[in-house]
Each structure stands twice: as structure tokens, then as C-alpha cells.
Amino acid sequence: MAMIEIRDVSKWYGGFQVLTGCSSKVEKGEVVVVCGPSGSGKSTLIKCVNGLEPFQKGEILVNGTPVGDPGTNLPKLRSRVGMVFQHFELFPHMTVIGNLTVGQIKVLGRKKEEALEKGHALLERVGLTDFAQKHPGLLSGGQQQRVAIARALAMDPICMLFDEPTSALDPEMIGEVLAVMQDLAREGMTMIVVTHEMGFARNVANRVIFMDHGQIVEDATKEEFFGTPRSERAQLFLSKILSH
């Protein structure tokens, strides 16, 4: 069984169609990069996977659980799917360690000591041990995003969704975030990553999905995609992105 299965998903905002018949599969341990021009529906698609955005047609299965089914316990499903946002979205009124423990304690019901231990271990892992008691507002963008990744990992997710995790960062901070993601991929985490970082895609991804106008135009292995993308649109996109 695939970890994430997207079957013929369509979505409308009023009369405007944002996703048209999207289908794909992500196997356990696979890293899939989703790219495409802005407004192509990449972020919307990834938010459909954990039900943050509803969709009107089709089906998405996460580890066999149907996301769109009204009977599905969405909070429970989401607690097992890690998500990292473009603008970090750390909780500004909590300390860094508070951000890492609130979900563990309130959602997973872990004991405070256990949650703290896990939180500190993850902070060490993303290289931010000294920042536990600080508030997120005092951290740089790159540091905040690493905390956000640690917050998602604290829930012991079965897969991770990254929604343009480096787009809001200064160039010199992108590397530190990508390095954490790369480690995660190496350890076998199942990941869907919406990004324009083609270097990351080349190094880490198993597959690349190219979207345009709400459709999955290309869904190919990394080698195929960077070798000879079949669609003209993907070729054009790549030439624009890789030329500088």
C-alpha cells in the first residue's frame, strides 16, 4: 500500500477550478518534489493531503485512511502527518520548547517530561539547543524554519509535507534548512516537498511532479525529469529556473 495516494482530485474555489484530475502515489520512504509556476496549484494540492483544504472530487488516501471522507477523524490523521509552512507559523506566544511540546502534550497526550525530552533531543538535532527558552520572534528565518521542522517531527509523523519551506528565507539561510531536510530524507522519511530548489530535487528526490494550471503535467523519476522532460511546459519552466 502506498503511503499517500492521490486519485483524480479536483477542487474549485467557487466557479474557479484550481485542481483538475490530479493523481499520484508516494511510496513509503519516497521523496517527491512538486514544482511548477506560481498559481499552478502545488500548495493547494499538498494542503489537500492533510485535509487543510477541502476538495470536491476524487480521493486521497494517507496510509489507507481516506482524507475526504466525512467519517475520518481528521485531527487524528493530521497528528501523524507533519507539515512545514512557507512562513514557519511558529506560535509566537510560546517559547521554542513550548512550540515543540504543545502538540505532544495536548494532542498526543504525552507526559510533560517525555515531551520535553523529545523536544530537547530534536532541538539538538536541528542545532538549536541554546534556543529552547527563547521566543520564536528572536530567531532568524532559517532558525525558525528548523524549529518548525522539529515541531513537526516531535509528533513522530509517518510522512512529512513541506510547503515551499525555503521561499521566505534569505539566500544564506536556505542551505541550513535544506540540510535538515536532506538528513531526514536519508533516514527514510516519506516526504512531499513543494519547492523551486532544483538542486535539492536533484540531490534528494526520487520523483519530480511538475504542475501547471492545476494539473499534474509531469510525474517522472528524477533522472527522467532532469534528462528529458516530456512536456514543453516543463522544459520551459526548467530553462527559466536553471538559467540563473
Binding site: 507559523e89 502538540g103 495536548k106 513537526a152
Partner: protein, 222 residues
């Protein structure tokens, strides 16, 4: 000339009596504030909810309360409830219920703006961690909304404190009513009214100065 006719020696013997009136005004303010913020926050959540009927009911309540003069609500509630239940509920209790219900409408508008001041991404992050609606509200959205709105909530409370003097209309013994009674006892109403005016003025000025300082402090932290 006018001042020379004033006799301010009547303050001292009436202090204990005025104190009981002041305690009622203070209690009424604190209870109506707490209840009004809790109820008002629920109303704000209702108004912002995606459930149509709930939003409509909350919105109707808020608009109704905000369109009627407070003194009318105080009188109406005091007079109508005994007709409905067959038992009078007393001016003090009636005042507490009325103020809580009325102020909730105003606090709800403040909390609505506060909830909307928290970005959608924050709520998304809470949901992505697996929080339920209530957890997300309680742990992520409302603490930030409350913090953002704290100076305005306190300013509303100062207005509420001044408005408590309206319970005078139903004879509840607040600071103003106590002053009126004391004034009649000693036949010195003017002095008494001046005295309570000074009390209201000093208290409200002190509180609004505090709010201004708080506002600056919050602005620095952000």
C-alpha cells in the same frame, strides 16, 4: 462664593457607606468584565463560524444589544423578568446579569477583531499538528487575539466601570446611589456628587494611564 457655602465635613462620616457602594460598583465591573469577555468571545467565535445559523444568531444578538441604550436594557430586564418568572430577582442580581449580557456584545466585537488579527496560517499550523477546533482556539488563536486586544479590552472595562452608575435607574446601591443617599441624609447632595465625581475621575484616569503604558509595552515586544 458658592464654594464657601459648601460643607465638606460630611465626607468623613459617610465614608463607610460610600465604601459599600463602591464595592458593589467594583464587583459589578469585575463580574460583568469576566462574564462579558467569556460570553463575548463565544459570540465572536459564533459570528466567525462557518455554520450559517450560529453566525446569524450571534450576529443578531450583538446587533440587538448594540442598538439599544444600556439604561433601557437595565430597566427592561429588571421589570420584565419578574413578570415572566413570577419572582422579583433583586436590583443587584438583575444588574449583574444585565451588564454581563450587554457588555458581552461589545467585548465580542473586540474579540472578533482580535481573532481576525491572528493570521490564518497560525490556525492552519494548529490544525496541522492535529488540534481540534477548541484546542486550536484555546491554545493558538485566542491567547494571541487576547494579547493583541488587551489595551482595547481594558479601555472597554473603564467605560463599563463608568456605565455601572446607570444601575441607579433600578435602585441598586452602587457608588452613585450611595452618594445620593448620603447626600440626602446630611442634606448635602452637591458635595456628595462632587466627591463621587472625583472618585470616578481619579480611578478612570489612573486606569487609562496604565492602559497607555501597557500599550507601549506590548508594541515594543511585537
Amino acid at each position: 462664593m458658592l464654594l464657601s457655602q459648601f460643607d465638606f465635613s460630611v465626607f468623613k462620616p459617610s465614608l463607610t457607606f460610600l465604601w459599600t457602594g463602591f464595592l458593589f460598583s467594583g464587583n459589578l465591573t469585575l463580574i460583568a468584565m469576566t462574564g462579558g469577555i467569556v460570553f463575548g468571545t463565544l459570540l465572536a467565535m459564533g459570528r466567525l463560524s462557518s455554520l450559517g445559523p450560529l453566525a446569524a444568531i450571534a450576529s443578531a444578538y450583538v446587533n440587538l444589544m448594540r442598538s439599544i441604550p444600556l439604561v433601557m436594557v437595565i430597566l427592561w430586564f429588571f421589570l420584565v423578568i419578574p413578570l415572566l418568572t413570577g419572582k422579583p430577582i433583586g436590583a443587584e442580581r438583575s444588574a449583574i446579569i444585565t451588564f454581563t449580557a450587554f457588555e458581552a456584545a461589545y467585548y465580542s466585537e473586540i474579540m472578533r477583531a482580535g481573532i481576525q488579527s491572528v493570521s490564518r496560517g497560525q490556525a492552519m499550523a494548529g490544525y496541522a499538528l492535529g488540534m481540534t477546533y477548541w484546542q486550536n482556539m484555546g491554545l493558538v488563536v485566542l491567547p494571541q487575539a487576547f494579547r493583541n486586544m488587551l489595551p482595547i479590552l481594558l479601555t472597554q472595562t473603564i467605560i463599563l466601570f463608568q456605565d455601572t452608575s446607570l444601575v441607579y435607574a433600578i435602585g441598586a446601591k452602587d457608588l452613585l446611589k450611595a452618594a445620593e443617599i448620603a447626600g440626602k441624609n446630611y442634606n448635602r447632595p452637591m458635595e456628595m456628587y462632587i466627591f463621587v465625581a472625583v472618585i470616578y475621575f481619579v480611578l478612570c484616569l489612573a486606569l487609562s494611564t496604565m492602559v497607555k503604558r501597557l500599550q507601549k509595552k506590548i508594541a515594543v515586544v511585537h
